[in-house]
């Protein structure tokens, strides 16, 4: 969804209905829909169990910033020495116990 007016559409939807992306656990829940075809309830429960938090914590940026730091799975505000981009996805694959295509491709391409 979307239109060329982020304040009118992206920000409005994000604030009204969205999980919050990397500020919270939105990307992780999305990955369960994409990789295992889970519906939203099941996907949230799965991610919450893997992170060791309650389902409601998944959309709390305070809790999730700490969890994301602890598990080193990518942060909205980057910190020195923490995983970013592809590095974060390596850790997400491990935490969620899923295959991530770009991570696998990275491994293949860096084999010697």
């Amino acid at each position: 969804m979307g239109v060329g007016d982020p304040p009118g559409m992206a920000i409005a939807h994000s604030t009204a209905s969205g999980m919050g992306g990397m500020r919270t656990a939105g990307d992780l829940v999305a990955r369960m829909q994409m990789s295992r075809g889970m519906r939203i309830k099941e996907a949230k429960e799965y991610v919450a169990s893997k992170l060791g938090v309650s389902v409601i914590d998944l959309v709390d940026p305070v809790v999730m910033t700490e969890i994301r730091q602890d598990l080193n799975i990518g942060l909205t505000t980057p910190l020195p020495g923490y995983a970013k981009g592809m590095e974060a996805k390596f850790n997400i694959a491990k935490v969620l116990e899923i295959e991530i295509n770009s991570v696998n491709k990275f491994k293949e391409r860096t084999k010697r």
């Binding site: 992306g21 829909q33 990789s35 996805k89």
Partner: protein
């Protein structure tokens, strides 16, 4: 009687009293129920919508705990669409870090499969770079856009011109040929982008050229699913029902023309789609309450009939949202909440 301020589908402000607002909601759901041959919303759901559209705040949201996934089609185009000079990877970072996206999509400015094919080896390295610096799931996205396979833009005789000349069977033959070309291109682009490392492919605005467009997509999905069992394939629709531009095409012995979202999802699942994006078009001369009730009615039935995640399209002129470049947040937030909390879908 007290008047409530809302808007029309073209974004204009209108004022409705209690009876008028209730009538709009009832007529909206009845219209969808009648066209789609599905159940209308219940009295409780209509009351919920009434309260939502009479709530005095400018902006409203779902209750905590009801949040869903937000995916963004054409994300790399939309920052530049408002005149901000960003590179495509920067645009993805804007969506990831600044706009709260849960999933991203990398796309070419033309946003159609056919023009991507000859430049695919330019697209792949940039997608691969984007995958290195982003954390969110990342699709490659484009529209099947079957119209590009017709003359003068493509190899097939123009069905519009053939129809206008009364050459119906020739027009249908031409469309069938276009399906073959499109399937081949969709499979090639989907495969190459997955080989590059994309989390999946999004065939967006499917059905824009009618039943041929939908058939090409289903066939391409079927092939890609066999080739890449773990690939995420999202299919987003163009309209609430499949236009019968050919009229006689079927998939799995089901005629495609005239299918509404709750029937489209059945075929999408059979073909191997991972996430489905149904659409309900906004009628610009009716109110947003009417449009929202109507959209929610269609999508609720689709969600009920689905085993896979549903991400309803909630962009400009769809999903109960007005057809304007700068959608007002009063109605966007209401349509968003209504869609999520009544249909219980999985994402937008």
């Amino acid at each position: 009687m007290k008047k409530y301020r809302t808007r029309k589908g073209d974004g204009s402000f209108i004022e409705l009293n209690e009876n008028e607002l209730k009538a709009e909601l009832e007529q909206g759901t009845s219209d969808a129920a009648d066209r789609g041959k599905i159940s209308p919303l219940s009295k409780e759901e209509l009351q919920y919508l009434f309260e939502l559209f009479t709530y005095p705040s400018k902006f409203i949201s779902v209750e905590m705990g009801n949040e869903v996934i937000l995916s963004y089609d054409a994300a790399t185009l939309k920052v530049r669409r408002v005149g901000v000079s960003t590179h495509r990877i920067q645009s993805l970072q804007v969506y990831e870090k600044l706009l709260g996206a849960d999933m991203l999509e990398f796309d070419h400015v033309d946003y159609s499969i056919k023009p991507v094919k000859p430049i695919i080896t330019f697209e792949q390295p940039e997608l691969e770079q984007a995958l290195l610096v982003t954390t969110l799931p990342l699709y490659y996205g484009a529209q099947p856009n079957l119209g590009l396979y017709n003359q003068p833009d493509g190899p097939c005789p123009n069905p519009g011109e053939l129809y206008a000349a009364g050459k119906i069977s020739e027009a249908q033959d031409s469309q069938e040929k276009a399906v073959e070309y499109a399937v081949s291109d969709m499979v090639q682009v989907g495969s190459e982008m997955y080989e590059s490392g994309a989390d999946g492919i999004n065939f967006d605005t499917t059905g824009a050229a009618g039943d041929t467009d939908f058939l090409a997509t289903l066939k391409a999905v079927e092939i890609l699913r066999k080739k890449f069992p773990d690939m995420c394939i999202e299919v987003g629709m163009a309209g609430e029902f499949i236009l019968g531009m050919h009229g006689g095409l079927s998939y799995d012995d089901v005629r495609l023309a005239g299918l509404y979202p709750h029937k489209q999802i059945e075929l999408a699942q059979k073909a191997g789609v991972s996430i489905f994006g149904p659409v309900c078009n906004t009628k610009t001369d009716r109110s947003i309450p009417w449009n929202s009730a109507r959209a929610v009615t269609y999508i609720k039935e689709c969600v009920k009939n689905s085993k896979i995640p549903i991400h309803a399209n909630m962009g400009m002129g769809v999903g109960g949202l007005p057809m304007v470049d700068h959608p007002p947040t009063d109605v966007v937030s209401r349509a968003s909440k209504a869609m999520v909390e009544i249909t219980r879908l999985d994402g937008l």
